[in-house]
Symmetry: C3
């Protein structure tokens, strides 16, 4: 499959075969780190971050550099040309002159797509507001597949803020391509949007909606996200909900062999005591971002097929 | 010509043969990107920016990295040692210990020259206040020459804020070495300083001063710069002037085959509708910064002659 | 000696043989810059700075890059994940996934040790509050040894804020391993802590405590540090002290052939007129940070033994 010059804006743009292809290439990347050390020699990546996201930026930069590519960084794009009144379009068109691929993060929905329309070189969306962050979803899928050798047939629970959470929306959408059982665990106020549920139904995916950890039962994956105080108009509502969506050592007993994932950073949704258990795979998950981003960078640069 | 260890502080320090030599080497750089991929292996550039200028910094960093050199970056020099009360001289003398060449940007006039006097390694001025930004001028000349195959014999119009604009002052000065016809297009309040006009006269360069786009007539190049509100004591004066120095699709008809340049960032001096026309060369102009800065870095490091 | 995977947190963790070994390897690094240009190919260093320290960051990054290694930088770690409520432990555990070694700077005492306990990869402390900055001490020792070919037998004066100065505490501690004569020069309010003096006595090191430059007499090294206004409850006290701990051209006559060191940045403790004398070695001292940090990075990565 030739993905040269393709923009990676939204998981919704991807067919199942695109996703599978990227996962396969990610696996090859992970197996051939040493061999690929000069794969991207001579290529320059620009990371253009209009809001801070250290972990995503470092992950892309590490991926590029471990393949022998070069990186030029704008960690605080807001304080620069944009401050002088330049449009986003002009900024990316200028950065295009200096580089071969751009990773962009922007607080506004649709910013990455706008950028992609302005330039010829590939744009990778590293988060545009509450909208999309497709490489996060790809590394989530890669992590699930790596743990179980497959995605089909698994039970996957998504927990926390399912209403506003960009990560879980994308992941649920992508899981629509697989034969999975989904469990949505959230307070009443933060349920998965009906749009996504309709989509899953249309693809024949079964799901359960529940409101407590105790109801999960057996699951292969528990994907935890943070519940933010700002989402609740009434602070007492938040306080009620807060304590009940935490993974503590005693919670683990309810979850059996479930692998626990989290997009990070976490605040207190998962007790640090969980970190050293076999269940915790969230730091491994972060590490999986490297081969996945290596594959994506190499594919859109047309260096691998 | 040996330019090893030379500081690049001001276009006024340069003889015509220096300029021509750099343009020639820039052309060679552009033709041999692939061949020169390891030219600067083992060299370290420090970019020391006391005020943000993402585009200039990225352009230098991309040039260095595409030649196999390394870069260490201080994008916000003000918040660091300088904040602890260190003098500029001490800062650059320290950075000298870690690198082979320094690119400096500073809000104060004369800062780059001061830095150059403090250290042994070459200093490249990437803008010192309203004063000089010589590599911008060199890439402007390179762009003109690339478009027309020559500079001599061309008609070149400079438009906008000709009184305070660092870019147009430097460019006009450098064009004094060539056999060109100049047109200065500006509101009465923002005319080219008499000092520069005297200099041009002394070199036998003919120029016209006009105040509207309509009077330009035929020109090979129209170099547009922004008119800043702050320059006008009376805001109503600014409002009057503002609309009349914009390049719109209908303006293009007056300009024939003129190539339009701009140092960027633009705000609204040039309509985005112009971007896809043959006239617009301002993004190409930005791209030309790469080979020009490659040539300059390689020359002052003594890696090419 | 195998130092693979060792954390470099405090000079107090080091035996004399560790220090000597690092100094020896630093010397080899300095002699073989060209030969080692690809020594760290394929390794990624993360510099994680929770407070700005441009000179330390640049020195590490330059060392890493001159050995062919790659660097990913968080110059302003405070504004990123930490701001979202992430613990230091989680931040370093995440960064661990992207890199092979971490250099950390943090305003809180003990932060580096905490980081080291959280991760498997080596952590190098680049300053944790008023506590430790071991690579500074190692480059100080390297500088002394390079100047005199030895440390044993030398007279070394430490001057300035000996009470709160992290640098002089570490250096005095390390010098406890050598057969040196120490002179402590400070105002009454800022004398060397008794804890350190006790330690030195226990190791049989002789020292003198004095309060003026005039009393120093012959010394091989004069190590100058800044006296900060904030240390004095009474500003008039500070004003009295201030002028008397400055190195001026006339002071030099009292000091004979003494070599003057300073960790930098300086404010006005040493007149710039001293810079061009044979006595001044503080910029050389900064330069010595490169081979010392090259040695440390290579040792903890296990690339040299």
């Amino acid at each position: 499959m030739n993905m040269k010059d393709r923009d990676i804006i939204s998981i919704r743009d991807m067919k199942k075969e695109d996703i599978e292809y990227i996962l396969e290439k990610s696996e090859e990347m992970e197996k051939n780190m040493e061999k690929n050390r000069n794969l991207l020699n001579g290529y320059v990546l620009s990371t253009l971050f209009f809001e801070p996201s250290t972990r995503t930026r470092l992950s892309f930069e590490s991926a590029m550099k471990r393949l022998g590519g070069e990186v030029i960084t704008v960690a605080e794009a807001k304080t620069s040309s944009a401050a002088k009144g330049e449009t986003l379009t002009d900024t990316v068109k200028t950065v295009e002159q200096y580089s071969d691929v751009i990773v962009i993060r922007h607080p506004n929905e649709g910013a990455a797509r706008l950028a992609a329309e302005a330039v010829e070189i590939p744009i990778i969306n590293a988060g545009d507001g509450a909208n999309q962050h497709p490489t996060q979803t790809l590394l989530d899928l890669y992590t699930i597949k790596k743990e179980y050798g497959k995605i089909d047939g698994l039970t996957i629970a998504l927990m926390g803020d399912l209403k506003y959470g960009r990560t879980v929306h994308s992941l649920a959408t992508a899981l629509g391509y697989y034969n999975v059982n989904l469990i949505f665990v959230s307070p009443e106020e933060l349920k998965m949007p009906s749009e996504i549920k309709k989509y899953l139904k249309s693809r024949g995916i079964s799901y359960r909606e529940i409101s407590s950890i105790e109801e999960i039962g057996e699951t292969d994956i528990l994907y935890v996200t943070r519940i933010q105080k700002e989402r609740f108009p009434d602070p007492t509502e938040y306080e009620k909900v807060r304590g009940t969506y935490k993974i503590l050592p005693e919670t683990l007993k309810l979850l059996g062999n479930a692998k626990i994932m989290h997009p990070l950073p976490r605040v207190d949704e998962i007790s640090p005591k969980i970190d050293r258990t076999e269940n915790a795979i969230y730091f491994k998950q972060a590490r999986n971002g490297i081969p996945v981003r290596m594959a994506i960078l190499s594919l859109v640069l047309g260096v691998i097929e």
